[in-house]
């Protein structure tokens, strides 16, 4: 190539590239693209989030938010892999069980100050019980947008077909306890369908059994998270009852069997009330939503939480925090309340929740949603939860066979997990 030709080529490529580069700089200054990872791919949920993101554009025309649904089963793994790969989202949903990991790590941006400054936000309205898990040194690190009690969805058609009393009838008679609930489940199972499904448990996600064993006053570990609870008497009793219900009575579908309540295949399911969106729209069965049955330790309720946090030290952290403040302000919290039970005291009344939850009767809202949120205890989380979860899962596998040595299995759970809890 001659020198002249070279000069021409350089000039030509500069002529093409420079405006592009300039355009890139200008674009980077103006437009802000925020990305939020979520574990729901529900269309109604996404529509609402997009609506809120559109609303934010009114004051921030340069900001767009995309919502990236990740699969529920390995949500946290996918999220941390994105972080490890240097490509974290700006905002992310976080499970209550990993709260300790995220809140204590310093990965999340502090929110309290920004929220207090946001006009009309009224942070004091958000109940302390709901924010406890997400607060460190009186600083909020993630907003609990979903404080969702575990409850029992019932397929009354299957229950009456099996000749059993419906949970509503049992409640009216003051007999809604675990013995009767499991008897109803057994009756339906004996009649050909399945009895009770503890949703998402699948003999792997044992933390969902919390909604069962709290009825016996059992806990996976002590309040301070240091001592294993699997060998305590309440846990032994609860697991003995559960094992009998699965392997002797057949009241719960056994391991390796996939049964979907919302497809009409089981009499009852324990899940969070935010799963009401899964109820079939057309040709639904006669369903009901009732609180968890009373256990030997009395009545109780269990809450699962999900929060949104903004990642710290990102180019757009400030905008992300601002968007989070907008997304969870009183007005938008009310909109979110149609899917995700709110943590704001001012919204916890039959009137507001009834407007946004047309599927639920005011009785269901009062007895299940409001009572559940007000009295419920959040599922226990722990620092390093994934490893603890996996260790307990591996030991508990020994329990899910008909012929098991229950005390020995529970002892092995504690033996395996105690060093991890003590750390």
């Amino acid at each position: 190539m001659t020198r002249l030709a070279m000069l021409k080529a350089t000039a030509a490529s500069a002529g093409i590239l420079l405006p592009l580069a300039w355009g890139g700089v200008a674009w980077a200054q103006d437009a802000v693209n925020l990305r939020m990872t979520i574990w729901s791919a529900n269309e109604a949920h996404l529509a609402l989030f997009n609506e809120i993101a559109e609303g934010f554009k009114a004051t921030h025309p340069n900001v767009s938010v995309t919502f990236e649904p990740l699969p529920f089963e390995n949500y946290t793994t996918t999220l941390t892999t994105q972080i490890a790969g240097g490509n974290p989202p700006d905002l992310a949903w976080i499970f209550e069980t990993s709260a300790a990991d995220f809140v204590n790590s310093g990965a999340l941006a502090p929110l309290s100050e920004a929220f207090t400054k946001t006009e009309g936000y009224n942070l004091d309205d958000v109940t302390e019980a709901a924010t406890a898990l997400w607060t460190r040194d009186s600083q909020l690190y993630a907003y609990p947008f979903s404080t969702s009690p575990f409850a029992v969805f019932v397929n009354n058609d299957l229950v009456t077909a099996a000749g059993a009393k419906t949970p509503a009838e049992l409640i009216a008679a003051g007999e809604w306890n675990w013995d009767n609930a499991l008897a109803t489940a057994k009756a339906v199972a004996d009649n050909g369908k399945d009895g009770l499904v503890i949703r998402d448990f699948n003999y792997q996600t044992w933390q969902n059994l919390t909604a069962f064993w709290r009825g016996w006053g059992a806990n996976a570990w002590s309040e301070d998270g240091k001592t294993c609870g699997f060998t305590e008497q309440p846990m032994v009793d609860a697991m003995t009852r559960l094992h009998q219900a699965i392997f002797v009575d057949g009241a719960l579908p056994g391991p390796g069997k996939n049964v979907d309540f919302f497809a009409g295949d089981a009499a009852m399911t324990i899940t969070q009330i935010s799963r009401a969106s899964l109820l079939p729209e057309d040709d639904p069965f006669d369903w009901d939503l009732v609180p968890l049955p009373e256990g030997p330790a009395g009545s109780y309720s269990v809450i699962g939480q999900a929060a949104v946090g903004a990642f710290a030290n990102r180019p757009n952290t400030d905008v992300a925090v601002e968007f989070l403040g907008y997304m969870t302000n009183p007005e938008n919290s009310e909109k979110l309340a149609q899917f995700f039970p709110p943590a704001r005291a001012s919204l916890l009344n039959t009137e507001t929740l009834g407007k946004t939850n047309p599927l639920l009767t005011s009785e269901q809202i009062e007895n299940v949603v409001i009572a559940g949120i007000s009295n419920g205890k959040v599922i226990a989380g722990h620092t390093n939860f994934a490893q603890i979860q996996q260790t307990i899962r591996a030991s508990l596998d020994g329990l899910w066979v008909a012929d098991t040595d229950l005390p020995a299995v529970l002892a092995s759970v504690c033996q395996g997990v105690s060093p991890l809890l003590a750390r």
């Binding site: 490890a84 790590s105 792997q204 390796g256 069997k257 996939n258 390093n384 591996a394």
Partner: protein, 306 residues
């Protein structure tokens, strides 16, 4: 060395034929070299570097810890059962896969009408997506799944395959064997067809029966292929991941937690990227040593190397 005295003022062109050839050669191997650098050598170096660090993804800290992760490797109480599970899986897979592949190859090495159809049938799982294949098997292996349904027809009550330690291991091995046996079968078939027919004729004349022919002629003649397939299968068996992740998630207990799944758990689920990297160095060493041993053994067992 260039001789300048012969033509002191004549400028020789830079692109001599030899240089052109060399440049062309380098250009030809450039894509491959770049690929190996990007996807093998650099990651390998990085994994070694990570293995000497503690990397907290959430807190975004990356601290040098020297050989602490290697010390942990020696003390890790979970590692012996994991290595045992890997060994059982690999041994089961290699024995079952190679013997089945050889049996099929011998059966299909016939001049019969329509034999191609059978060869295609046995090979077809190789081209099926691994994940799709495994998911279908996960349905079949459920307690109320297809396999137990068939067994029930014969009045047998099948076990809950994926939930009992022994049957879970058998299940993952068999699912993997059926997936890949076709590949080894084709390799064996090619080797069998490469054995000269006159050797068999000579053996028959000498009075060797079919079993003796197989033992004395076929096996030695195809021994290079046996070595090749056993290396491929062992290395492949140590890398098994998707089947475990889909079928058992390492359970029940830790009975099917093989090394790759364990390192995935440590790195990606528990966020111990440093220790996960240490485990992958261990895996690398195991694969390297096994391949080296097998390569050395060729002198003793492979016919043509004598």
């Amino acid at each position: 060395m260039t001789d300048h005295s012969a033509a002191p003022h004549q400028k020789r062109p830079f692109w001599t034929i030899a240089r052109k050839d060399a440049a062309a050669g380098f250009l030809f191997i450039a894509p491959q070299t770049l690929g190996i650098m990007t996807f093998v050598l650099i990651p390998l170096g990085l994994v070694f570097y990570y293995s000497m660090h503690e990397w907290n993804v959430l807190a975004n800290t990356f601290t040098f810890v020297g050989d602490a992760n290697y010390q942990l490797l020696l003390r890790d109480p979970n590692l012996p059962p994991v290595l045992l599970a890997s060994a059982i899986f690999s041994a089961g897979l290699v024995v079952l896969n190679l013997s089945l592949a050889l049996l099929l190859a011998v059966l299909l090495d016939q001049k019969l009408k329509g034999i191609v159809v059978f060869r295609t049938l046995f090979f077809s799982p190789v081209v099926v997506s691994l994940v799709a294949w495994t998911i279908v098997w996960s349905f079949l292996l459920q307690a109320n799944g297809g396999i137990n349904g068939i067994l029930a027809v014969f009045g047998i009550e099948g076990p809950n395959w994926l939930r009992t330690p022994t049957t879970a291991m058998i299940a993952v091995v068999v699912v993997q064997v059926f997936k890949n046996v076709g590949l080894n079968m084709i390799l064996f078939l090619a080797a069998l067809q490469g054995v000269p027919k006159e050797v068999y004729e000579a053996a028959r004349v000498d009075g060797a029966g079919p079993f003796k022919q197989f033992r004395r002629i076929t096996l030695p003649m195809i021994s290079p292929t046996i070595l090749l397939t056993s290396i491929i299968t062992i290395v492949g068996s140590l890398q098994v991941f998707a089947q475990i992740a889909i079928l058992t998630k390492g359970g029940p207990g830790v009975s099917t937690t093989v090394l790759v799944y364990y390192l995935y758990q440590q790195a990606f689920q528990f966020n111990f990227f440093g220790y996960g990297s240490t485990l992958s160095i261990l895996l690398f060493l195991i694969v390297a040593v096994l391949t080296f041993i097998q390569w050395q053994m060729r002198k003793r067992i492979v016919f043509y190397e004598n």
